[in-house]
Amino acid sequence: MLQVLFDALSLGSLYALGALGIALIFGVMRLVNFAHGDVIAFSVFALLWPSTDAVAIVFAGQMPWFLLIPFILAVGAGLSVLSEIVVFRRFRHASPATMMIASFALGFVIRYFLLMLFSSRPKSISLLPALSQPVEILGARMPLLQLITILATIVMLFALSVFVRKTRFGLEMRAAAENFTMARMLGVRANRVIMGAFALSGALAGAISIILGAQTGTADIQMGGAVMLMAFIATVIGGLGSLEGAVLAGFLLGAASVVMQTVLPPEARPFRDAFVYGAVILVLLFRPQGLISARGTKERV
């Protein structure tokens, strides 16, 4: 039974980190960033030297872990901020639909850029191999990585909530999320806040790519896709714009997916995802504004 708990927690933490990355950007810009999944893929490929032949030439990947992790986080944050400056800054006054399609087009560009540099065959990398030997906790056996993922995620979530609650920058970001114009009228610099949100979101994407890279051992162009879909759903279920909601829903979705996988009878198991999506629709029907609705986001009549 404990095993299921740990599995649910580790998958849930992946979805929670992803949902947080999307909620941060939606908070300040009402933009659902579809390019987020490709930022994840890009951060992993940044470790490799561009080459189209099958064997991966691990370039930055050989750095010791205390250099490697900051490097990936920086790459994720950098790409995310760059995408804000180059692309999304021009869409400040566009409608949500236009911004969404622009973010999809950006994701498309990043994906095919990687495809051109690295070809479509997944490249294997041994990322932080030390993390994969099994460890025994209260009777449940699992790879050390799974434990590290859960702990790292909890630490990151705690650090982020302190940052958002206590620091001035966090205060400005929350204010901008609730009422962008009013925040500017109090001297809050719009571009700096938005870039900050993108940087944080990019760093979270970097964190996901470390976990995914270490867990699956491959750098594949579509690796960000599956996690991002679930994270995107978690953001909405959690209540768009509310960071706590995104994290809670991320863990719930992870748990639902794992529980369904263990509970369902064998012939229904392939339909597992269908049940998860069915649950998503039910939740939305009863709480359209999400589990923890962020106060400011409801349109006032």
Binding site: S119, S126, M142
Partner: protein
């Protein structure tokens, strides 16, 4: 009963597909044209290009030796861009360029549109390395063939070899439901298992190729009273690496069997010192193939493309042109029906990568000699050779 039902099915299919039978268009200046409607960009490029390079090697050899029926083989190609709609266009453009034989993508799903255009123009089409039963008569039409071996044969080969040579008795079946190839491998395994005396299925489970974690499935394996002797894993890249890595990380050391889709050493660094892992291959890319001609071929391939073949999926390209050219020589013309007739006469036709047999009902291989590659402490190598005792019957294939 099955034969008759199948034949009527074929005729019905042929009827719907031949609104216009193309004349036997030989290229204006008399040489024979082979059209490549394969992926030069997009996801499938990594799988189509190696097999296409191998095919080009055989074409160059034939042209150097005076060509086919005294004529040089000319090549035209069109990019399917790993897109089905674009695949149909690519097929049509190579046919318009006078292709007498159309080579289509490795994977059945992406190759079928182009193959269907060739079939409707009454031309012979070859799948570069598709291993699904549909890549041929059942899925396209009487003029379509596949240069590779059926996925089911791989499943059956691994099951019988593990049973005979490794005394494996209880097997665990883990199927990745995302791709039809995986189901093909496991279908072969399901057919072979009951024929092995006192071998039993300890359990089975499914997962998705892009699942971030298969922790639940692994917990179920660990909950078994006894660790299974062998796990029949039916999956392919990229999910395969993550699944194998998670199985070994959870401390499960039973033998892992898989189809040829994970052949190649490029991914082994992701699962450091992996052992007890077996894969069937048509030829070895590790330089230790028992047949010296294969080693010579690998050298020639390296010289032409600048790198060793990454996986065994390169070889079917070579076999394809080899058997097709032989059929054309024997038919004395490139008329599609004559060539098909000759191909269907081939029984155990020797090729560089094992015998090939085609029959009117099955333009594919349901029995083939496989080399067994073992990964030991992260190093791959050929350890054995195996051919299943009897061919996989049609109903097991069409399940």
């Amino acid at each position: 009963m099955i034969r008759t039902r199948l034949l009527t099915g074929l005729s019905a299919l042929a009827l719907t597909l031949t609104p216009m039978t193309g004349a036997m268009a030989e290229d204006a200046d008399g040489n024979i044209v082979v059209g490549f409607a394969t992926a030069e960009t997009g996801f499938m490029e990594a799988y189509d290009k190696p097999a296409q390079d191998a095919a080009m090697i055989r074409i160059d050899e034939i042209n150097a030796a005076g060509g086919l029926l005294g004529k040089q083989i000319k090549v035209v190609n069109a990019d399917t861009k790993t897109d089905r709609a674009e695949g149909a266009k690519a097929g049509l453009s190579v046919l318009d360029a006078g292709a007498d034989m159309v080579v289509v993508s490795c994977d059945y799903d992406f190759g079928a549109p182009a193959a269907l255009t060739a079939e409707s123009s009454g031309k012979v089409s070859f799948f570069l390395c598709a291993e699904s039963i549909k890549a041929g008569v059942q899925g396209v039409g009487p003029h379509s063939f596949s240069a590779s071996v059926l996925a089911a044969v791989q499943g059956a080969t691994m099951a019988q070899w593990a049973y005979e040579k490794k005394e494996a008795r209880d097997f665990y079946r883990l199927l990745d439901t995302s791709y039809v190839y995986n189901k093909g491998v496991c279908d072969g395994f399901d057919w072979m298992l009951p024929t092995l005396a006192d071998a039993k299925l300890a359990g089975e489970d499914v997962f998705k190729n892009d699942d971030a974690s298969i922790a639940a499935q692994i917990s179920r394996i660990k909950a078994l009273p006894k660790e299974p002797d062998a796990i029949m894993l039916c999956t392919m890249m990229p999910g395969a690496v993550s699944a194998i890595k998670q199985i070994r990380a959870a401390g499960i050391n039973s033998m892992i069997l898989n189809g040829s889709s994970v052949d190649g050493s490029y991914w082994l660094s992701a699962v450091p010192d992996l052992s007890n892992f077996y894969v069937p291959v048509q030829g070895s890319v590790y330089g230790d193939d028992p047949n010296p001609d294969v080693i010579a071929f690998n050298a020639l391939y390296k010289e032409k493309t600048g790198g060793d073949p990454a996986t065994q999926y390169t070889y079917p390209g070579y076999v394809m042109i080899d058997v097709w050219a032989k059929a054309v020589e024997r038919a004395g013309s490139i008329d599609a029906d004559a060539v098909v007739g000759e191909l269907e006469k081939m029984d155990g036709e020797p090729t560089l990568f094992g015998p090939r047999t085609f029959t009117p009902e099955l333009h594919h291989q349901n029995k083939a000699r496989y080399l067994i590659a073992e990964v030991k402490d992260g190093k791959p190598g050929i350890v054995d050779e195996w051919t299943i005792s009897e061919p996989v019957p049609m109903d097991a294939l069409l399940k």
